[in-house]
């Protein structure tokens, strides 16, 4: 099949946007200039490619065109201050001007460009920026979402989002946040921050508490795309690959999580034929890699990362028979590494599902007593579920009612209502 110019540009946009912006920021130091020139290059591609055909290496073509645009703009700006800008222009000129219509051309030197994308990721996710600004900046500069799209995804007015982006870029310039991959001594401190932003992006799309469904699906796709890039660029970082596996496993169930009427379907009731098994296979391959402590976690290694543990748990859940005892011990390890009442709640479920209903309920009751999750509908819903499984139907119904009041979304309320009706009719 021959792709149309529009399809080719759309594909190139997905694959190349972040790379081009990152390269231009690296060479000019000017974030706005980089975004605008990248945008113009894609606009020019639409007309040029339908007229002259699609270049063999669209990425190189776009990078060159965007780079030329940047030179033009800097030249115009340089008329008044020629010397100051000359360095930037010289640097831009050094880039490869060949864009792939020569079949004998060597592959683009990947090192330089790949590094730029990694630099951009670490800069967007710099901890001196507010978390919401890190997320917005990542989506704008690396994923190429428009300000309007990002605003819709996070349910804020577009001018608010625009202001957030302008402010973040202004701080990067004014406070001299360096455009770089942090030196080795800072990496252990900074890499988790990048992973956290990407996982937050994914969860924003995945949990779909509100907002535009299409944009939310795009968030998941972009998060996976970016963490895939990160995993490639940081092969020595096991948690990047673990996070990729975790996202793939969760995302693989997207078509089965909600039924035709928009209701949530629990894992055990999902139509497995609607899972994306290619994504599960990719995740399993990542987890089997010994490089990230793979080949089966034995429950003894306490230095194992939290994404790795969560990915292992997600992996257990896509097996034909869930090994609940293993899930329970993985949650126990996760709780040690990352103490949180939500993790404990999940551990309680696993303990109950592994056959120890009373043990699971005891953990849930203890959580309820501590009051940390008061107001969290899933605490009540979990307790209700375990009581139902134990046969305490009346108590279970009362607990479902409690969860119903607290549930934040219509889908979840319908699910709980369904449970209550089932109990009433049994």
């Amino acid at each position: 099949m021959v792709a149309t110019a529009e399809q080719a540009v759309a594909a190139a946009f997905r694959d190349e946007w972040g790379r081009i912006v990152a390269t231009l920021i690296g060479r000019t130091g000017d974030w706005d200039l980089a975004e605008e020139c990248a945008q113009e290059a894609f606009a020019q591609a639409l007309t040029s490619w339908s007229r002259d055909g699609i270049p063999e290496r669209p990425g190189a073509w776009l990078t060159t065109v965007a780079g030329n645009r940047a030179i033009d703009r800097l030249r115009r700006a340089a008329r008044g201050a020629e010397l100051a800008e000359r360095a930037a222009i010289d640097q831009l000129r050094t880039q490869d001007s060949d864009y792939g219509n020569d079949p004998d051309a060597d592959e683009e030197e990947p090192d330089v460009i790949e590094d730029d994308r990694l630099r951009l990721m670490f800069t967007c996710c710099h901890p001196a920026l507010a978390l919401e600004a890190r997320v917005a900046l990542t989506l704008r500069t690396l994923a190429g979402l428009t300000t309007a799209e990002i605003a819709r995804a996070f349910l804020v007015p577009e001018p608010t989002m625009a202001k957030r982006l302008v402010r973040a870029k202004a701080k990067i310039a004014a406070a001299a946040i360096p455009y770089r991959v942090p030196p080795p001594e800072l990496l252990p401190e900074r890499t988790p921050g990048v992973l956290a932003v990407l996982y937050l992006l994914f969860n924003e799309g995945y949990s779909a508490s509100a907002g535009d469904a299409l944009i939310r699906a795009a968030l998941c796709d972009e998060a996976i795309r970016l963490v895939r890039v990160l995993a490639q660029l940081m092969p020595e970082e096991p948690e990047a690959r673990a996070l990729l596996a975790l996202m793939l496993l969760q995302h693989s169930r997207r078509d089965a999580r909600v039924d035709t009427s928009g209701d949530l379907v629990t894992l055990e009731d999902q139509d497995r034929s609607r899972w994306h098994h290619d994504e599960i296979a990719e995740a399993e391959a990542l987890l089997a890699d010994r490089g990230i402590g793979g080949g089966g976690w034995a429950g003894t290694d306490l230095t194992i990362g939290t994404y790795r543990l969560q990915a292992e748990i997600a992996s257990c859940h896509v097996q034909p028979h869930v090994e609940w005892r293993r899930v329970a011990s993985l949650y126990e390890a996760l709780e040690l590494a990352m103490p949180s009442p939500v993790v404990r709640l999940n551990r309680a479920v696993a303990v109950a599902m592994a056959g120890d209903l009373d043990g699971g309920l005891a953990l849930v009751d203890e959580l309820a007593q501590r009051g940390e999750l008061a107001g969290y509908h899933l605490l009540a819903a979990t307790r209700a579920d375990l009581l139902r499984r134990r046969g305490d139907l009346q108590e279970a119904a009362a607990e479902y009612e409690r969860a119903l009041v607290l549930a934040p979304s219509e889908t979840e309320r319908r699910f709980l209502q369904g449970r209550i009706e089932e109990l009433g009719s049994s």
């Binding site: 406070a175 001299a176 360096p178």
Partner: protein, 246 residues
């Protein structure tokens, strides 16, 4: 790249904290001076001696207290010269105040990008023992009309030249907007950063000037002549032990 490092504490110190400061502040200062990072640093007297100065309708209004009431307040400042914000954060995180309280790091406004502003002398040349009073220019963040902003800028330069001529001026600098601030706290060995100044408030620090005048009345009189006193507010505070602690 120069940054102003604001030392912010809540003024309540335990004997343990006091001992930590006594032990670590001098070695921090020595290390940062040796690295060429620290230009100078001075501690301030407590809030009891803070006065704010405003001029409205030609009348000078003086009030007790700092420009912003908050749990933590500015107890001293350092000027540091760093390669980038990462280095400034590292420097702040090594200062023991960040282990218990907060250090705000704010970039200087680059004079090279402000045509018409003559650069100040490098703060490495200043004599800390001549530093008696600190003026803190407190802005309310609402910009005036462009022509008014321009006039304030011109008048500020004229004010500086005047105070320099009378021999009362030691050093000063405008700093970037509070939006560019980073607050550094170290807890349990982890460096925690916040995007923004040490305390959220409408008013924020926009610049400072160090004066060598003999009395606080003199410093207040000079502050009242500064154009920002007419539009905003200036806090006047003596340096601890009149600067003889630098």
């Amino acid at each position: 790249m120069k940054y102003l490092m604001l030392i912010c504490t809540d003024g309540v110190s335990t004997p343990e904290i006091a001992a930590t400061m006594q032990e670590h502040v001098p070695s921090w200062a020595e290390e940062m001076k040796g690295r060429g990072v620290r230009r100078f640093g001075l501690a301030l007297e407590g809030l009891g001696s803070a006065r704010t100065v405003r001029v409205r309708g030609g009348e000078t209004l003086i009030a007790d207290g700092p420009f912003v009431e908050s749990k933590e307040f500015i107890g001293g400042l350092n000027v540091i010269d760093c390669e980038n914000l990462d280095e400034a954060i590292e420097v702040a995180a090594k200062h023991p105040v960040s282990w218990h309280f907060t250090i705000e790091v704010r970039p200087f406004i680059d004079y090279a990008q402000q045509p018409g502003c003559a650069p100040e002398s490098d703060p490495v040349d200043i004599d800390p023992s001549s530093a008696r009073y600190l003026l803190m220019m407190c802005l309310d963040g609402i910009p005036e009309a462009p022509e008014v902003e321009e006039r304030i800028m011109r008048d500020s330069v004229a004010w500086r030249e005047q105070v320099q001529a009378s021999g009362d001026y030691v050093y000063g600098h405008p700093i970037q907007h509070a939006n560019t601030a980073t607050s550094v706290r170290v807890r349990d060995g982890k460096t925690l950063l916040t995007d923004g100044p040490f305390t959220e408030s409408k008013e924020f620090l926009g610049g400072f000037a160090i004066l060598s005048c003999e009395t606080q009345e003199d410093a207040i009189a000079l502050a009242a002549k500064h154009p920002l006193a007419r539009f905003h507010m200036i806090e006047v505070r003596p340096f601890f032990n009149h600067g003889r602690n630098g």
